[in-house]
């Protein structure tokens, strides 16, 4: 961990959310790689790598928890910071995500400032 993180992988099946994340992250100077679900996320991670991963929980094909588990199972990414997107009304999701290996969380709807704060606390 030396220079500021450059590449952030965002995994979310909602295009609206992906666009919001990309906008906020690009403004903050990060390079953004997008994926639409857990399977796609694993492929993009392989192809492009990532310094930080931001993932939603509810996704088809491979959901957030399964995705986190697989990422942690990959030796290269055992310590890659992973932030999950949760909503106010699901505090238990945070706990489940952490058990699966998530590093931190971001509550939706997020404002760009809070998003960057969360990233700064893990990378």
């Amino acid at each position: 961990m030396s220079a500021a993180p450059k590449t952030i992988l965002t995994v979310d099946d909602s295009r609206t959310m992906r666009d919001m994340l990309r906008l906020a992250l690009a403004e903050a100077g990060y390079r953004v790689v997008q994926a639409i679900d857990g399977i796609d996320g694993l492929e993009r991670l392989d192809a492009e790598g990532a310094d930080v991963i931001i993932t939603d929980i509810n996704m088809p094909n491979l959901d957030g928890l399964g995705f986190i588990e697989r990422v942690r199972g990959d030796l290269r990414h055992r310590a890659t910071p992973i932030l999950v997107l949760t909503t106010e009304s699901e505090p238990e999701v945070k706990d489940r995500a952490r058990k699966a290996g998530a590093t931190g969380w971001i509550v939706k709807p997020f404002n760009p400032g809070k998003l960057v704060d969360a990233i700064r606390r893990v990378a």
Partner: protein, 691 residues
């Protein structure tokens, strides 16, 4: 938080763009919710269905939160909570429950629309269904799931409540991560760095616990830190830095003044195996179907429209090329002719390919009908079972948009007038639920849509009597069943005794028919008394391109749609008869049809001698089957033309459906045969009255 963070609020333009995306996505989500719930209603028990519906509602809620669409967020939340109960198997997805969800889906769609248009939705629309959702969601006592197996260690805080002091304070932060902190990807150095941004920090490492190499476990945690921080930030800000690692470390934050309690003696380092994250059951691994996005791409509509335009131009210019070459070369070269034919075929293939990009399945329109049926059921008290076939049938975008209106009328009609009440059906020995079947298929280059019901069918006696009463047919006219059936499309015709909520509003089937005809389509009905009626709607596959016959009138090109053309004839003077002051008739195969001088009718030329020896006529048919012969100067051949709107820059013109650009670059008008014949009839009527 430190003020020097560069990231601010997102620009309104970017947010506006994402808002558009959000509402587009909402449409897709609503469609997914509908189809998922419909499948559940039909008895499909796949748990993935509930998941998919849950995710869609969840996504809508998430996006709505971004744009602060409160009413939508709240309703979506209730819907989601109720769905969560079903997903967790605490509530069973009985048909009644699914029906509640279907109504919730309709309400959600309304709320999305209202949010998009910036309007409010009244509480009586949402109140009842909201309550039902809450009742479903509250069926289990526990509001949240609990986790008894969480490895939760209380974090000791030495906190003596001191009054908040102005000016910088000095804090001591003692921080010892557990192995689990590292396992989750957290990094103490990052946290210490963030802490340091709050003010001035002096960091002390305690490496006492690091064992000798032979006892060293790389996965374990041996280091701890003491950070002395001078800052104007409050304790909450300091704790916030460690928000993510609560439970995975020991953290003691104290003001420098108070005696700092020592960190509790380190527990024996847990083995690496225990610290590894426990495997969690992945929530949903669906069947290995291709992720739906990856087999399709999203393209901006204007780009597709532009492509369609360009390809249309390509077709025209290819035709120009062919014409010019044949005009310039004195003898026909086989190789050139072949090359031109190949080019022509290639161009047509490209055009078909491009039109296929715009083609969409009628499914979206049919889904709207499903909702319509539910509303009609509720309004009429009748029970309806809707069967849909051929949803995947594709049609050009331009046609899809115009399907909704005629379909809506036909479906409403079927429920309001076709189907009997449940009691009546029961008495007749029919199933209590009336059947409405909507089907779509491509047939003969057109799309044919049927709306059939198994209700009472048309009462032909009554229809005929009403038609006679309204002067639409003569008392003694002989009519076959089919003629009588199609009388219901006549203007002003309605067999409803009262204007019901459903088919009222003063819109009769004649308006529907005119609308369909304006699209170049046809609508008809067939019926069997006691068994039901079937409405048949036939439309061209695309409104963008037309097959027509190019003719020349008064030096100008005109296109007559092939769909209306029966044949071309060369009238001999002997075949032309006059009737009254201003009407000419053409005798053809024993019957007489009006002969219309197109040049005069359109104002292109002065009245010509209808007994002229030259001249060709097009025998055409309007949508009611009325025939006429249109006199033109020359028939130039069939053309497939790209339809250009006249109304985009001008306004509707009677007798003209649209326009097109010919090979020579000039504009040619496309005739609206029905209007031309009708206008001529009116003119003749006036002239005869005046005479």
């Amino acid at each position: 938080m430190a003020e020097h963070r560069p990231v601010g609020v997102l620009s309104p333009e970017s947010l506006a763009a994402i808002r558009v995306v959000f509402f587009q996505e909402c449409e897709e989500h609503i469609a997914d919710i509908e189809s998922g719930l419909t499948a559940l209603e039909c008895g499909d028990c796949d748990p993935e269905l509930v998941n998919a519906v849950f995710r869609a509602v969840h996504s809508i809620k998430g996006g709505a939160g971004i744009f602060e669409l409160e009413a939508l967020v709240q309703f979506a939340h209730r819907f989601e909570s109720a769905l969560a109960e079903v997903r967790a198997d605490r509530v069973e997805a009985t048909p009644d429950v699914v029906r509640v969800f279907l109504r919730a889906a309709d309400t959600l769609a309304d709320l999305v629309q209202a949010a998009r248009d910036g309007q409010a939705v009244s509480l009586d629309r949402t109140g009842a269904i909201s309550e039902e959702l809450e009742r479903l969601a509250a069926s289990q006592a526990a509001a949240f799931e609990t986790f008894d197996d969480l490895d939760f260690e209380p974090r000791p805080i030495a906190f003596t409540p001191l009054p908040p002091a102005a000016g910088p304070q000095t804090w001591r932060v003692r921080f010892r991560p557990h192995a689990s902190l590292y396992a989750k990807g957290n990094e103490p150095l990052v946290l210490i760095r963030e802490l340091g941004r709050l003010g001035e920090a002096v960091v002390e490492l305690d490496a006492e616990q690091v064992p000798m190499l032979d006892a060293f476990d790389a996965e374990d945690s041996y280091l701890s830190w003491t950070i002395t921080l001078t800052t104007t930030a409050d304790e909450a800000a300091i704790l916030e830095v460690f928000e993510f690692v609560e439970g995975d470390c020991e953290l003691v934050v104290s003001r420098e003044a108070a005696a700092a309690p020592p960190l509790p003696a380190p527990a024996p380092a847990p083995s690496a195996r225990d610290a590894a994250p426990e495997p969690v059951e992945p929530r949903s691994v669906g069947p290995a179907a291709a992720p739906k996005d990856l087999t399709a791409i999203r393209v901006d509509l204007p780009r597709v429209e532009r492509l369609v335009d360009l390809v249309g131009e390509l077709v025209v210019h290819q035709a120009i090329l062919a014409e010019r070459i044949s005009a310039e070369t004195s003898r026909r070269s086989d190789t050139v002719a072949q090359a031109l034919d190949d080019l022509s075929q290639l161009t047509r293939d490209i055009q078909e390919g491009v039109m296929a990009i715009r083609a969409q399945p009628v499914k979206a329109v049919f889904q709207r009908m499903a909702r319509l049926v539910r509303e009609a059921e509720a309004a009429s008290g009748k029970r309806v079972r809707l069967v849909v076939e051929g949803e995947a049938t594709e049609v050009d975008r331009t046609v899809i948009e115009r399907l909704t209106e005629p379909l809506t009328h036909m479906v409403r009609n079927a429920v309001a007038h076709g189907l009997e009440s449940p009691e009546r059906r029961s008495a007749l020995g029919k199933p209590v639920e009336g059947l409405v079947r909507i089907s779509a298929a491509q047939r003969g280059g057109r799309i044919v849509i049927e709306v059939a019901d198994d209700g009472q069918g048309l009462d032909r006696e009554r229809v005929r009597a009403l038609a006679v009463a309204r002067g639409l047919v003569a008392e003694d006219a002989t009519l076959v069943d089919e003629d009588i059936d199609n009388l219901i499309f006549a203007p002003g015709f309605s067999t409803a005794d009262s204007i019901s909520d459903l088919s009222g509003r003063g819109v009769g089937l004649d308006v529907v028919r005119r609308g369909v005809q304006a699209l170049g389509g046809r609508i008809s009905v067939s019926s069997l008394r006691g068994a039901g009626s079937t409405f048949t709607l036939s439309l061209p596959l695309t409104l963008a391109v037309l097959d027509g016959m190019l003719v020349s009138v008064g030096g100008h090109g005109l296109i007559a749609p092939l769909a209306s053309l029966i044949e071309t004839v060369q009238p001999r003077p002997a075949d032309i008869r006059r009737l009254g002051a201003s009407t000419s008739l053409l005798s053809i195969r024993g019957s007489h049809v009006p002969l219309i001088d197109l040049g005069r009718a359109l104002g292109y030329a002065g009245a010509r001698e209808t007994a002229a020896p030259h001249g060709v006529a097009l025998l055409v048919e309007d949508d009611a089957g009325e025939q006429a012969a249109l006199l033109v100067d020359e028939v130039l051949g069939q053309r497939q033309v790209v339809i250009k709107s006249l109304e985009a820059n001008y306004r509707p013109v009677e007798g003209v459906a649209a326009a097109t650009i010919l090979g020579d670059g000039r504009v040619a008008l496309i005739l609206d045969i029905t209007a031309v014949i009708a206008a001529e009839r009116r003119r003749a009527d006036h002239a005869n009255v005046a005479a």
